[in-house]
Amino acid sequence: MEIKENASTSMTDIQNEIIDEFSFLGDDRESTIFYIMELGQKLPELDEKYKIEENIIKGCQSKVWLTADLDGNRILFNADSNTDITKGLISLLIRVLSGQNVDDVLNTDLYFIEKIGMGQIIGSQRSNGLVAMIKQMKLYALAYKSKLS
């Protein structure tokens, strides 16, 4: 339900919203990590039947399962992870990308990641994992785009 409401908001607006939220946390690393974990805990759990090998994103240190469905020309993402911080990270990506037009998902610049200083917050290892998540989401969009055309 939440996903559909997001669809009416532009990705730029959502990204700016996230930047605002993180700016409230300031430089306090502990509050930032707690906030990401809270986001993770709020992300609905993925049904066990989707937690299968083929849905696992390669390149993440922790386990991340990602599914993508097409609703008209919009793509809906759902994900889960065995760690709360990773769930928090992917929930941010879902908030921006899920429910958006396939073309927009493909073309969008996820500038909020740099703006909120995610690299410093999560470190280089997890940053690689985040890149792997984004890549996988865009790959789904690409696959659905060719299906639509």
Binding site: R29, E30, T32, I33, F34, M37, S62, N82, T83, D84
Partner: protein
């Protein structure tokens, strides 16, 4: 109890020791740094840092073949470290000490230079279920190459090597036994003297991976009677990029070189090369001169700490206090509770992933390690994919243990 702790603490004089480690005096994420990742690498005392800088500022030169004064100074300093290592591990001669890039290279050297020459199809190599990947993979590779069989000594639920099982799997075909002196993931101190005895009785040689042992327990290679002993400088307050392979002269002389090039030769013509004597036969190319020289200061620092039993006893105080405090935390399980262990605690908490715990502790300025610690088979043995590992060193304090335990308790109360 408090009195005893204070006495031990004053014997070790932690505040004086701490003052020698510049890195410890800082805030991380706004909190006073608590460094509990010593099994991964220890911090460096100022004397080590200065030795590195002095070498480059005052006598940087390539060693051994130079005739000039700087080369002489550098050579003397480099070889002096070898003598200190000899003294530190009680090797019978300095030539039995080979400098490598670390424990991993030391083990690879033996697997390649000894294994390739002396393993034959049908022979066996025995390792244990406690091993770090660097004491598993080199043996897997050489066993594949030589059609030899790799056997594994099982470990029990407490994290101890099953010696009875070892006696059962060792045969007259076993040529090499390679086990760690102390487990990096669980801290188990293995009965290496007995393992060496059993192996020798069966005609096998023994390599001990001492990476986790050298900073915490006395090492006497003659008393242990091991054939090879491998360790790293950086886990012993020294620089990264330096390791040691101790080997008995007879064995080292019987082996072919591992790498080839300069330094390791006596004479080269296009038809034939005569190899240099040990240890140089195994030190091809320009070695890591600066770090080897600085390592000498690390060794002198450790020797200067006095009796290793006092060091171990102080670290055990930290271990006991931490173990007691952690056991009070709901949902926490300690992985590895061997009777003989160094100050390493691996644990998991039900409902909280080890990565999340590690990041939350880091946000509180507490450095711990999370994951499989390069011991995936051991993690599989316990049916887990990783742990949080805290590992203490001589510069850690009971106050730090207390802050850590309080912080972890808060995290668990909030998130679990």
């Amino acid at each position: 109890m408090t009195q005893i702790v204070e006495n031990i603490e004053s014997k070790i004089n932690v505040s004086t020791i701490r003052s020698k480690f510049p890195v410890l005096d800082q805030k991380v994420n706004g909190k006073k740094l608590i460094y509990f990742d010593n099994a991964a690498t220890t911090q460096k005392p100022e004397v080590v840092i200065n030795a590195l800088s002095d070498y480059y500022r005052q006598y940087n030169a390539n060693i051994h073949r130079g005739l000039h004064t700087l080369a002489e100074r550098a050579t003397a300093a480099y070889e002096d470290t070898r003598k200190t290592v000899q003294q530190f591990i009680n090797a019978s001669e300095a030539e039995e000490v080979i400098f490598t890039s670390g424990t991993t290279e030391s083990i690879n050297l033996v697997a390649n230079a000894y294994g390739r020459k002396f393993l034959h199809p049908g022979d066996e190599v025995i390792i244990s279920g406690l091993e770090h990947h660097s004491n598993i993979v080199p043996w897997q590779l050489i066993c594949q190459e030589k059609s030899a069989l790799l056997k594994v000594i099982p470990i029990d639920a407490k994290g101890d090597i099953d010696l009875e099982a070892f006696k059962k799997i060792i045969t007259d075909k076993t040529k090499i036994v390679a086990v760690n002196h102390i487990s990096n993931s669980l801290g188990t101190i293995n009965p290496v003297r007995e393992i060496v005895q059993i192996a020798h009785d069966s005609g096998a040689i023994v390599l001990l991976d001492g990476a986790q042992a050298t900073a915490h327990v006395d090492i006497d290679v003659q008393e242990l009677d091991c054939d090879f002993y491998a360790f790293s400088a950086h886990k012993l307050y020294g620089p990264t990029g330096v390791g040691v392979l101790y080997g008995k002269r007879k064995l080292l002389e019987s082996m072919n070189p591992f790498q080839s090039g300069g330094e390791m030769i006596k004479e080269v013509t296009f038809e034939k090369t005569t190899f240099n004597d040990i240890p140089y036969k195994f030190e091809a190319g320009t070695p890591n001169i600066a770090d080897v020289i600085a390592f000498n200061e690390a060794l002198k620092f450790v020797i200067g700490l006095g009796n290793k039993e006092d060091v171990l006893s102080y670290e055990q105080t930290l271990l006991n206090e931490a173990t007691e405090r952690l056991k009070e935390i709901p949902g926490l399980t300690i992985i590895g509770e061997a009777d003989q262990k160094i100050a390493v605690i691996s644990f998991i908490i039900e409902g909280l992933h080890h990565f999340d715990i590690g990041m939350m502790l880091d946000a509180k300025g507490i450095a711990v390690r999370t994951g499989h610690h390069c011991t995936q088979p051991l993690m599989n043995r316990f049916g887990i994919d990783g742990t949080v590992r805290v590992s203490f060193s001589i510069y850690n304090t009971l106050e730090e243990v207390s802050i850590f335990a309080d912080s972890l308790k808060q995290i668990v109360e909030k998130w679990r």
